[in-house]
Point group: C2
Chain length 126, copies 2
């Protein structure tokens, strides 16, 4: 089976990660100190295995089609403090200590750059 | 163009959301009060438009293949307080006030249920 082949290098309990048809799983990266969500990226089995083994934020770059050890060129590394898999095994959470900004634009978070809307509680029925 | 067609109903600034080949964008949902990442789900243009219009956590259920207004059956609604798009337009962040548990298992967060690993800083070179 493809799944057991690609996840054979992962620790017990991580072998039921549901990689998608491209062999990827989305990874939410959160700053463990500030609580801010820094970025959303993807990992393949190799990247996830390397992250778990080296305690670094490691991903698969979809644009460059290569393993992406976050900060290896920019210096903006991530120390992996906690990793969690979600209830249905198709999303991963990296809790990290981030060195410098997480976003390639220089922003603290990738979600600081795009459009943002804030809503008051008027009009919402709880 | 498909993109402009599917995003025509979205507010200005949200029309460059990069939906994937299935017409979906991943959504990270964070509890604005606790800072916890609650879940990772997906939205199509209709779900995102409805979320922005109704200030509710609205998604596309990939398993049920239908619009998913979070909490409409369970009562575990999400009031949308802030929405942000990331730097390259291919991920969305919902900051919500969560009513009850976010996870269908009854856990506060979907990331409380799967395997979790914690690492000390020994062995990491900053």
């Amino acid at each position: 089976m493809m799944r057991s082949a690609v996840t054979a290098g992962l620790p017990q309990g991580w072998r039921h990660v549901h990689f998608d048809a491209d062999g990827l799983v989305p990874v939410v990266t959160q700053d463990i100190n500030t609580g801010r969500v820094l970025m959303l990226a993807y990992a393949n089995a190799e990247a996830l295995g390397m992250a778990l083994a080296t305690h670094r934020g490691v991903y698969w770059s979809r644009s460059r089609r290569e393993l992406w050890i976050k900060g290896s060129t920019s210096g903006h590394r991530q120390r992996l403090v906690e990793v969690a898999l979600d209830c249905d095994g198709d999303a991963v959470l990296y809790l990290v200590e981030q060195v410098g900004p997480a976003c390639h634009t220089g922003a603290e978070s990738c979600f600081d750059v795009g459009p943002r809307m804030t809503f008051s509680d008027a009009g919402w029925v709880a």
